[in-house]
């Protein structure tokens, strides 16, 4: 007889058109997974109490790694012994989360035998999350995973698992090989990923174009965003077809009958006003284009990114804790990203050296740059300041000149001054 707790509140979440996690977990409980039954029981109690019932952390892991496993213990284990331990393992996902069912079933098999059967597909960083294991199962799970060719992801003050958008695998706008970059960085920096040695976490996110579908600008310490530096490719015939209503606007994103008004919806919404439309020809002044993707988004059959592609590198994004949320900011306007990405690796290793040397405990890269200044950062990583790094120059006049920048330096005597100016 499968374990079951009454869950009148959670039962309400079985109603409605959106798929129900409650129905799913109940089915697993019914199939004999006590951890699932107890999880629902504890969740029901949390709904009643309006407070969670997980203890704070707890250090667990696998030998030789400092991360990849998050400790979790129930604070009501006598009521829900099936979740007394409920640790998670982060499993490094294949780039862009493509799966072959044969390989995914290796995970399903291991997890059904040794864990709760519950998963997150996926965690926010990108790893697959195996949700709910007992301590004694962690080493065996790890051994079975690696034997099948899977490894853990990062956690703690380490390199977190890099992730990327669907990129060239399925998107016509990808300017860089997002999967290869993501995979190369993951493999190159395995030690940094598995063994926390830094002030705090560090995240790479790789976006194929400025649409930023993996939200790198919002959340990556280092955002790698595909771009181009030549001209947007224009298919003049296709432009005419859009104008004639033969092709739906926005790739059909507003419906397959949606007609594009090139003047109103494309030209007038261009942030730099670099486009013109005379009723039959669309012209783009590419030098004035900021590659925002809007026109391309609206006319995918007529406009494509250029072919001299590379990436813009931005650094410093993070969520609010500690000093406030930040988006990443431009530090390398354009870099060719060609395997094995030696230029990029050289850059990022300088970044890590500076951050590791100067960062306080739990200080993110973005916070360190705020504290010591962007100009200091640029100097430390050997980058020349350029206006593409700022929205506007400073408006406050408190400029810290260095002694060597000023003729005569800072040494002067009051006696000398008094020769010219009476007291």
């Amino acid at each position: 007889m499968a374990k079951e707790h009454p869950t009148p509140m959670l039962d309400e979440l079985e109603k409605g058109p959106w798929p129900s996690f409650v129905t799913d977990i109940k089915a697993a409980a019914k199939a004999g997974k006590d951890a699932c039954a107890d999880l629902l029981g504890q969740l029901e109690l949390s709904y009643k109490d309006k407070e969670g019932h997980w203890k704070h952390g707890g250090i667990v892991g696998v030998l030789g790694y400092g991360g990849g496993v998050i400790g979790r213990y129930s604070d009501v284990p006598e009521l829900f012994p099936g979740v007394e331990h409920f640790h998670t393992l982060r499993v490094n996902q294949p780039a862009s989360k493509f799966y072959k069912t044969e390989r995914l079933r290796e995970i399903i098999d291991i997890w059904n035998r040794r864990g709760s059967g519950m998963l997150n597909m996926h965690g926010s960083t990108g790893d697959m999350v195996l949700l709910g294991a007992f301590t004694e199962e962690l080493e065996p799970i790890f051994a079975e995973l690696t034997a099948k060719g899977w490894d853990l992801g990062g956690s703690g003050s380490a390199l977190r698992t890099p992730s990327c958008c669907v990129g060239k695998a399925r998107c016509e706008w990808a300017c860089i090989d997002t999967q290869d970059i993501c995979y190369t960085l993951t493999m190159e920096y395995q030690d940094e990923l598995h063994r926390p040695a830094w002030p705090y976490k560090f995240k790479f996110k790789v976006d194929g174009c400025p649409n930023c579908c993996v939200a790198s600008i919002a959340r990556a310490d280092c955002s790698i965003i595909g771009t181009w530096r030549d001209d947007i490719r224009i298919d003049a015939e296709a432009v005419k077809a859009y104008a004639a209503g033969e092709i739906a606007a926005n790739g059909g994103g507003h419906g397959t009958d949606d007609k594009l008004d090139i003047q109103k919806d494309v030209v007038e919404l261009c942030p730099t006003q670099c486009m013109s439309w005379d009723g039959s020809t669309l012209t783009i002044n590419n030098a004035e284009c900021t590659r925002c993707m809007h026109c391309i988004n609206l006319m995918p059959q007529a406009l494509r990114p250029g072919t001299d592609t590379g990436a813009t590198i931005l650094v410093g994004a993070k969520a609010p804790i500690l000093e406030g949320a930040q988006m990443s900011s431009v530090v390398i306007p354009f870099i060719k990203m060609e395997a094995p990405y030696d230029d990029f690796k050289e850059f990022i290793e300088k970044v890590w050296d500076w951050w590791d040397e100067n960062g306080k405990n739990r200080e993110r890269l973005g916070e360190l740059i705020q504290r010591l200044g962007l100009a200091e950062f640029l100097k430390a990583v050997d980058l020349e300041p350029v206006p593409q790094m700022i929205k506007e120059p400073r408006s406050n006049p408190y400029i810290f000149y260095k002694e060597e920048e000023v003729p005569g330096g800072f040494e002067r005597t009051i006696d000398d001054y008094r020769k010219r100016h009476a007291r």
Binding site: W54, F98, K168, T256, D265, P320, L322
Partner: protein, 359 residues
């Protein structure tokens, strides 16, 4: 110990690709959304790839994942993928496979099709009461309640532009909800309650003190114990001290609840990326279906949908009409809580006579 395998990294990505992806990698030319949830990509060679996108619960069991695998086996040669926002994509190389695939998904019952174009796609969310040790709210339950109510927008292209909704169960914001069209954020409103008898045994006091963004914590001897004290006037209940110190929990059934934020975006299209801004400071937790939260979000979406220009994201719309108009049109209450008082606060104040009169 037998030879342990470590530091091998993930499987190489191309091991997980069907041939149509391998053969057309980097050659995709354009796409069309054929109907909500169904994409067609065409490559430079003329090859056509069809993708059906379905809602993913993110929190799922191996049972559900196995059912997904079975569908992928039957129609997609055993290949499928997940999207960044937790949806599931089944890819087929032939339009004739679409209807049978869609039928199989409908028969499954837990894989509704949608999430493309000008829609509300899946809500990116965190662990909540299912797993998190610092939650102020649940996650999966609220997502279910909100998406049930807004379901019509998942499988359609009715909105002025895409509306990205995200949820974080506390200020750690695991998943970065700070740049979403609509963000649902768990917040505390009471300072930590301190277990002085155990603090020094469980926590490193200097690290705990350093964890506070407003320097509200100081060392203190309490009841003879080496502990800390919290200046309640300085505390804004972020919970970072609890992250560093288990003896200072914040969770409270009366204090905790939801703050709603609007107007963020991550894309660079048209306007620069934006942070989400506070719309509703506090709605209590109302498990199991959070009706007040659901109603507030629905209101925001519907006012935006009726008023915004085509292609305008919520933040672009609010900036164009002015935030005073946003509060007027949505009927949301404006209070002192909406006025920033942290670093850079004055960058958000209105230093101009350019404003609109509202009721």
């Amino acid at each position: 110990m037998a030879e342990r395998i470590t530091d091998i990294g993930p499987p190489k990505y191309d091991e997980m690709w069907p041939d149509i992806i391998k053969d057309n990698y980097g050659k995709w030319k354009y796409h069309e959304i054929l109907e909500p949830g169904v994409l067609k990509h065409v490559s430079e060679t003329g090859t056509e790839l069809y993708t059906v996108r379905c809602a993913g619960t993110r929190l799922m069991t191996t049972l559900h994942l196995e059912n997904i695998c079975k569908i992928a086996d039957e129609f997609c040669g055993g290949f499928f993928r997940f999207t960044t926002r937790n949806n599931i994509e089944f890819m087929v190389d032939d339009a004739s496979k679409l209807e049978p695939l869609k039928k199989a998904l409908a028969d499954n019952g837990a894989l509704p099709i949608g999430g493309t174009g000008a829609c509300i796609t899946n809500i990116v969310h965190t662990q909540g009461w299912v797993h998190c040790h610092t939650p102020a709210i649940d996650a999966s339950g609220i997502v279910k309640a909100v998406m049930d109510e807004l379901f019509e927008y998942f499988g359609s292209h009715k909105l002025p532009a895409q509306v990205r909704i995200s949820l974080a169960c506390c200020l750690n914001m695991c998943g970065a909800v700070h740049c979403s069209d609509i963000a649902i954020l768990g917040v505390h409103r009471k300072p930590p309650v301190i277990e002085h008898s155990h603090l020094d045994k469980m926590c490193e006091i200097p690290t705990t003190i350093a964890a506070c963004p407003t320097a509200a914590i100081k060392p203190a001897k309490v009841d003879g114990y080496k502990s800390v004290a919290v200046n309640a006037d300085r505390c804004m209940f972020c919970g970072n001290c609890y992250t560093m110190c288990p003896a200072m929990p914040l969770a409270d059934a009366d204090g905790d609840g939801i703050a709603l934020w609007v107007g963020g975006k991550v894309s660079n299209a048209r306007s620069m990326p934006k942070f989400s801004k506070l719309a509703v400071p506090f709605i209590p937790n109302e498990p199991p279906r959070w009706p007040s939260t659901v109603e507030a979000i629905k209101k925001i979406v519907e006012v935006y949908a009726a008023d915004a220009n085509k292609y305008e994201r919520i933040g672009e719309w609010a900036e164009r009409i002015g935030w005073e108009r946003f509060f007027e049109k949505t009927g949301l209450e404006f209070s002192h809580h909406h006025i920033d008082d942290y670093r850079f606060a004055m960058t958000t104040w209105r230093n101009s006579t350019q404003f609109k009169f509202t009721d």
